[in-house]
Symmetry: C2
Subunit: 185 residues, 2 copies
């Protein structure tokens, strides 16, 4: 951030009065520009014993498999965001969503929230951001070709919990990857 | 948003290619400025059978009682945010956090996430944003003087679940209040 989105003048970093963190503050109109984490919402769409995965057509992690998920938008609920992303990436409708994993990814300022969900039909297809969409049996999950650790972790939990049919909500964090460069803010 | 935070030129609203929503896009450098919901993180701090509440010293809802909660910051986990807010508002330390309610407030682009938590001691005090901090028995909760519906709802769930000592994670949304004016983006 270099300029104030309210008045267009330059910003600089200060700790505002009563605050304890560096913020971008406008040098002219004094507007404080807060920056906060984003929510990524997704789901584990199931059809019987199978799980729907999408192979990514876009970066990051193009060509790798993921659960349908993406940035939550203003004006929607987390659950609606998960349903919309499933519609966009897999042209699929899901219902009966139950919150399942909340995984912090603090080094990139994200919180990933996944729901368990039921596909309403076998009517699905690759959306614009997917190369391919498929149902997988547990034995066929492409573990080494999964796009993100929050996806791997959610699937690990899902298959560990499924035999007992009890799915406790998990709240945990993933640590930074070795050698990861902190994204510029 | 009127100006580009990257180059300082004016922005206007367009639907970018491959997108389906109006975004602020810079007329000069074409940067797309996404706007996304914020997480408010808080907890239900308990000491034996009592719950800690804070009376707000600041707007909105100055003078009303709340659970310690506030905007999650970049670089922290939701749980760390809940602990930090408890430290800031109630000068109190909590441990053994368990995720409890996730409540969407889509008309103001917020998601409120509360944890159950144990106070480490009776050592607490009003922080800068609180007028007063007190432990309440269930019978004394000031229901009509609670600051926010997500706080009321979380406390309702907590006291409903407590007799059975089973606290299922709740994921739900609050509807807009009648007559509420949508905040300017």
């Amino acid at each position: 951030m270099k300029f104030c989105s309210q008045c267009g003048h330059s910003v600089s970093q200060h700790i505002p009065q009563g605050d304890s963190r560096l913020r971008y503050v406008c040098d002219h109109c004094q507007t404080i520009h807060y920056q906060n984490p984003n929510i990524v919402a997704g789901c584990v769409p199931t059809w019987g014993t199978q799980v729907l995965l999408c192979r990514r057509a876009i970066e990051p992690r193009k060509g790798f498999w993921t659960l349908p998920a993406g940035f939550m938008e203003n004006g929607e609920t987390v659950e609606q965001a998960a349903q919309r992303e499933t519609r966009e990436e897999a042209c699929a409708e899901v219902a009966n969503l139950s919150i399942y994993t909340l995984i912090d990814v603090p080094h990139i300022n994200q919180v990933h929230i996944f729901y368990r969900a039921e596909l309403l039909s076998r009517d699905f297809a690759a959306g614009e951001e997917s190369l391919e969409v498929r149902l997988f049996d547990e034995a066929d999950i492409p573990w080494s070709e999964l796009a993100f650790r929050t996806v791997s972790r959610t699937l690990e939990c899902f298959f560990a919990d499924r035999p007992g049919q009890v799915y406790p909500v998990r709240s945990e964090a993933v640590p930074p990857l070795a050698g990861l460069i902190k994204p510029q803010q």
